[in-house]
């Protein structure tokens, strides 16, 4: 996994609550068996009109959000289906950070598996960020996992709350499975204690 140390980028603001994973990546694109190439389908039904042209009314299609890599949204982002295709499509589109008052549990975990940093901030901070991002010019933020700070160049600074283990995995880009396999002895002991270990090697 790609490590996450610091990231600075343009903010795309999506002023909606309860954005579900069906919107992030509609089901017709879940038939693919690859992990890559989902960015073109991100928010497909919102980004494109029925004739395939860009929907100019959709926030992400605004010119000032060109090249955005930080997504700002309202509460309960990523609710619904467990599909990891949602973070795959966000990452493939170029997003490295998502900021919202709250996230759905499964989506939140899935982000960490894919080098995306989900940042939870209080509602009033989110309101402040929407305000700052509403100007005509592109708005930039920086997220650092070294300092655990989210900052802009105009005085905004908030700490990023993150579980120490998740922070370490993100900073070092650790392979989660490899890390767990280091505990093979404990897993085998558990299986032995539960009468399951006969056919297993460490």
């Amino acid at each position: 996994m790609q490590p996450f140390v610091t990231h600075t980028g343009i903010v795309a603001s999506l002023d909606r609550a309860n954005v579900d994973t069906d919107q992030i990546i509609p089901k017709q694109f879940l038939k693919r068996i690859e992990r890559t190439g989902f960015g073109q389908y991100l928010f497909f039904d919102w980004r494109f009109l029925a004739d395939g042209s860009l929907n100019s009314q959709f926030e992400l299609n605004h010119p000032k959000m060109n090249g955005a890599s930080i997504l700002l949204a309202r509460r309960n982002f990523g609710c619904g289906s467990s599909r990891e295709h949602a973070p795959w499509s966000l990452a493939d589109y170029g997003f490295r950070v998502i900021i919202a008052p709250s996230f759905a549990d499964i989506f939140f975990s899935n982000c960490f598996q894919n080098g995306i940093l989900p940042i939870r901030l209080p509602e009033e901070d989110i309101a402040e960020l929407f305000q700052r991002a509403s100007r005509d010019q592109p708005y930039r933020l920086s997220a650092s996992l070294e300092t655990c700070l989210l900052t802009d160049d105009a005085g905004f600074s908030r700490s990023i709350e993150i579980e120490p283990f998740r922070r370490k995995c993100m900073l070092e880009g650790l392979d989660h499975i490899g890390l767990s396999l280091r505990q093979s002895k404990s897993i085998l002991e558990w299986e032995t204690a539960h009468g399951l270990a006969d056919s297993k090697a460490v």
Partner: protein, 469 residues
Amino acid sequence: MTTTPRTLLEKIWDEHLVCSPEGEQPILYVDLHLVHEVTSPQAFEGLRLASRKVRRPETTFATLDHNVPTTDRRLPIADPISAQQIDTLRHNCQEFGVRLFDLGDADQGIVHVIGPELGLTQPGMTIVCGDSHTATHGAMGALAFGIGTSEVEHVLATQTLRQSRPRSMEVRVDGILPHGVTAKDLVLYLIGKLSTEGGAGYVIEYTGQVIRQLSMEERMTVCNMSIEAGARAGMIAPDSKTFDYLRGRDHAPRDFDKAVARWEQLPTDALAVYDRVELFKAADVVPQVTWGTNPAQVIGVDGTIPDPANFSDEADRSSAIRALEYMGLESGRQVVDISVDRVFIGSCTNSRIEDLRAAADVVRGHQVSSSVHAMVVPGSGRVKRQAEQEGLDTIFLNAGFEWREAGCSMCLGMNPDTLSPGERCASTSNRNFEGRQGKGGRTHLVSPAMAAAAAIAGHFVDIRTWHYR
């Protein structure tokens, strides 16, 4: 010996905790891993690239459900990309030694229908699947939740999962459900009260007189939709109904009485403390219909479409405005005046034999409205055969319903069963998100009886007034 009183969740958690390495997330052992074609190909590919094996293939079971046609199974699959995904699961199961319930298999069906049906799902287990409705299995007194594909790969490789300990929430419903009110209405009502994120970070344990009275299949309907309230899982303590349901099923323990003795220790201790408690009264619940684009946007069938101006919260208000526009509805309209174009009876929420019986009871002696296209999709091959033995298929077919093969079908519309833009559907499924059943499609979530009545009448009907023939 005295022990600290514990909840059902705590007992299962403690039993399955492998280790908590210093500074890391705890590692939890997984008893049963269920796999389907949509969220697994990338996980198997990851194993292959890292030269890893499935640690315990004998506790891993796969089925084809999300992306399969529900029409004649003898025909080839028309969509080549779907066909490739289906073939990929077949190939992966063969290569890694996993039991697959393939399309020709008598036991094929929706993953959350076949798990309990085959006796794979048992009290006290930890169960995961790359699907958010895995909470269904919690009805048997298991800790069951949905995971992402990277976690699917982790479970395949290690038979464990990294998990932070969830908090516990008791949702207690006292009293008895009024006439015409079903488990589906109850859970929709609870989601409306808890909100779509009210359960985030929690595992819900449903308790109270109503829950004890529900059948096992009704309990599955309730637990199934826990995720729609944001909860990681939903569960119900096992009791004699649970044991009676399991006895004699294919994968039930051989020494059943010994297993029962163990399972009887699982229910939450009298003095155990939940992190949060929410109380509800069954008498307050009426048949429910969703009006918006998330399952918490729900009202009683005797109500009217709400006015967004009455929502005090800004996000709720803007969400309601968007939802009404998408759904093509105006505030103040009576729910029973809303007409439907399609009716879908199926999904992991409501496709079991009791659901089909409830729908058939409503349909018997009636005809589907000429303006409605209605279909019934049984949850599994077993449910389908059982229904046919009882003659339910004849009731549906004679009334003008389509009678299909088992699969997820129009719940998520990955296969050809989809709504067209603007079509309005009364659906027994679990999600009314924008475009969920087809781009531009408008979904109203209801119980099987309410869906059946809407098919006959051509509009929503208060099932409490239905004329059964």
